[in-house]
Each structure stands twice: as structure tokens, then as C-alpha cells.
Symmetry: C2
Subunit: 230 residues, 2 copies
């Protein structure tokens, strides 16, 4: 069927939602990309994304794409910018509402088309379709800004993690190095971490302490007008 049923008095652009999916493997930030099987940009890599249905919001659309590729229904998804350059898609005028999602790698199952989906480290990103390189740059910048003020990093970590993993995460996102002792002190002083299990007495000193994010404490502190900063 190539009939054109939906008619308007004025031209309407198509609207899509794209979803930049970030993960963390304990060392570096990863991005989930999908290799396009069709033109345009066949063979190039792109973010999961698709046309917004007429009865869903952009965010619902982004979550749908996320679930299709990762199986995840619940995740931190946030809109960050809408790209509307006139020629960003060669087929027709397409405006895309870009989102990023933060997921735990351990919870991601291979999606339907796992064959064509792959995680890439941020320094191994291949050539991207459309204006997706620009979208990625903006997503990373927004992530950097965001993590300075809200503890979104915890969305990327397993429920229980070590201080070193947490530090690696912050260093990977912000592209800086922190002094280990200062990072420990700062994080512990903030009061948003709980010790997951007191280190077993028999464990060696080499065994790292495990922590979990204390969401309740964070909410409480935020209420009091508290500001997270790095």
C-alpha cells in the first residue's frame, strides 16, 4: 500500500523519537547502536528510534524503542533536545525528539534484532547515520551536566557496587581524574551511600567495601535544599 490517507492543509513534518542508550561496564561508558538494514544510511550505525505514534508522547515512543532493543520497561529516560534541521533526513522532513536512557548492562537482554545491535565504548564509535554524531555529542554533554547535580550515575551501576566502580563512572562521564581519598571522603560525607554488607570478618583487606545508593536519604537531603556537586 502506498496510498496516502492522512491529509492536511499545510505540510507536516514527521516526528520521531531517538534514544541514546548509555551503559557502564565498570570501567567506561558504552552506547548501544544499531546497524541500519535499509536505506538511507544502510550499513551505518544509529540510535534506536522511530516514528512517534499518533497516540503516544515522544517519551513513550522513546521508551518503546528502548524496550524493543533492551527488554527494559523501567529505566531513567530523559528528553534532552529536539533536532529539526531541514535536511537531516533525505526522505522527508523529520523532526526528532532526542532522549537518553541510563541502563544497567546486567539487566539488558539482547533485543529482537540483537544481531545488528552492539555496545560501543565512547572512543570506538563508528560512523553514524543522519545527524546522530551531533546528537551523541549533545547527549554526552547533557549527561555531564546532569550528573553534577543529580545522582543519576546510580542508574548505570548495579545495585551494589564498590567505591572504585563509582569513581570510575564519574571519571568516565566527566573525563577527569579524581584523587581517590578525596573522592571517598566526599561521597561518604554526602550521606547518600549505604554500606551494602559490612565486610565479612574473614575477608581480606583487599576485598573492596560494597555500597548501595540510599535513595531515601537522598530524597530527604534534597528536600532540605541540598546541592550535589562535583
Amino acid at each position: 500500500m502506498s496510498e496516502q490517507h492522512y491529509c492536511y492543509k499545510y505540510p507536516h513534518p514527521a516526528v520521531t523519537a531517538d534514544c541514546v542508550i548509555f551503559g557502564f561496564d565498570g570501567t567506561g561508558i558504552k552506547v548501544l547502536l544499531i546497524q541500519r538494514g535499509i536505506e538511507p544510511y544502510k550499513g551505518k550505525w544509529a540510535f534506536p528510534g522511530g516514528f512517534m505514534k499518533i497516540d503516544e508522547t515522544a517519551e513513550e515512543c522513546a521508551r518503546r524503542e528502548l524496550e524493543e532493543e533492551t527488554g527494559l520497561k523501567e529505566a531513567c529516560v530523559e528528553q534532552f533536545y529536539t533536532f529539526s534541521d531541514v535536511n537531516r533526513d533525505p526522505r522527508e522532513r523529520v523532526v526528532t525528539v532526542a532522549h537518553y536512557a541510563l541502563v544497567r548492562l546486567s539487566e539488558v537482554k539482547g533485543g529482537d534484532d540483537a544481531a545488528s545491535a552492539r555496545w560501543f565504548a565512547h572512543d570506538e564509535i563508528p560512523a553514524l547515520a543522519f545527524d546522530h554524531d551531533r546528537i551523541l555529542r549533545m547527549a554526552m554533554n547533557r549527561l555531564k551536566e546532569r550528573i553534577c547535580f543529580e545522582p543519576i550515575g546510580f542508574e548505570l551501576l548495579p545495585e551494589v557496587f564498590t567505591m572504585t566502580e563509582l569513581q570510575n563512572l564519574y571519571e568516565a562521564i566527566l573525563e577527569v581524574k579524581f584523587d581517590r581519598r578525596n573522592f571517598y571522603n566526599k561521597m561518604l560525607k554526602l550521606g547518600i551511600l549505604a554500606e551494602a554488607e559490612p565486610r565479612p570478618a574473614n575477608a581480606s583487606r583487599r576485598t573492596p567495601n560494597k555500597y548501595r545508593f540510599n535513595a531515601g536519604k537522598y530524597a530527604e537531603l534534597k528536600q532540605k535544599g541540598f546541592r550535589l556537586e562535583f
Copy 2:
């Protein structure tokens, strides 16, 4: 003509750009609203906005709206969120890319339909059309976040201003009070202000010092990895 010339295989939403225009009168933040002359929401107030043309970006559309209402071609305009609730417009599905603009009140001429456009203080906002109350809330929040890290406040002030005006601006946007001396010291230490004119010798001590924003110095500091904060 009600002919429907533009046809698509799938339904397309309409896309609009809205522009929340902020001004500052030396004491408080003002927002420019337009009273709607047609249904829906006839008589209610709304932000300038309109349908995006097929050959312009959302930002160009927002700037066009800004110019129509204020005569300003150059201004700080920034996209901040895209609203896509399914029923936000009763006529058809409309996705709007919301922007805010920062303008100097002194440079604004009454627009074409000045009769129906008015500046409102943020505590006198009337009932708004569509989901514009939500849009306004989000715009104010974004402005608060933004002014903490970039000197966008200067877009709202005349070229030459007093320290008290600057402090009033920050206090109005952030809804807090600062200690006057601390504010002076902090601002002067930042090094992004220049004295506009050395206070004339004959002027009384009551005459306030005048400053201007030193954009060059700011760019230089930012380059060196400098962080503005409040």
C-alpha cells in the same frame, strides 16, 4: 480554501514552536503574553508561537515569533523542552518545541498586535491557554539552572547597569536573597564585570557605580576551565 493538499501514508502531528519571552525591569522578571483572539482558548493568554514552516528549523520559527512580537532580530533564544502530550491541543495533534528568549525591555518595541500583548510579572500571570502554565514553570526552572552556570543574566540587563540591578536580577530569577557585600565581592572577584565609567569626581557618593559585562574576559576565563556558580 479547506482543501487538504499535503498527504502522508501515516498520520503526522503538527509541529509548532513557542517562545517564552523574559524581560527584566530592574526589579522583577516579566513575561510577554499574548491574548488569543480565536478559539480554542479565545481570550486566554499564551506565549507567542506558531506552526513551523516546512523550510525552517524550530529555532528559526521561535525567532520569527519573537521578532513579530518584539521587533528583535538578535536575542538569546534557547530551546528547552518539547511538549508532546496527545491532547494538548483540542484541534489536532500538536507537538511544540518550547524556547525561551531573553530580551532587554528597553529594546522592545510594541509588536504588530501590541494591543493584545502585555508584560506580566511572574506573580501576576493570568490563566494560560493550552498547557502553557506547565511550559512556563519549566521555562523558569530552566532559567534558574542556566543562570547558575552561564552569565545569561546580562542578556536581560541594559548594557550599563548598577550592581544593585544585577543583584536584583539574580534574586528575582533564583528567588533568594543575597547579602549585598558578599554579592559585590563575588561578582567583582569573578572578573567578568568592567566599570563602565569611573564615577565622575563631582558625583556624590550616593551615585551608584556603573558596570558592563566583559564578554571577552568571560570567554577567556571559560576557556581556561572556569566555572561560574551561585
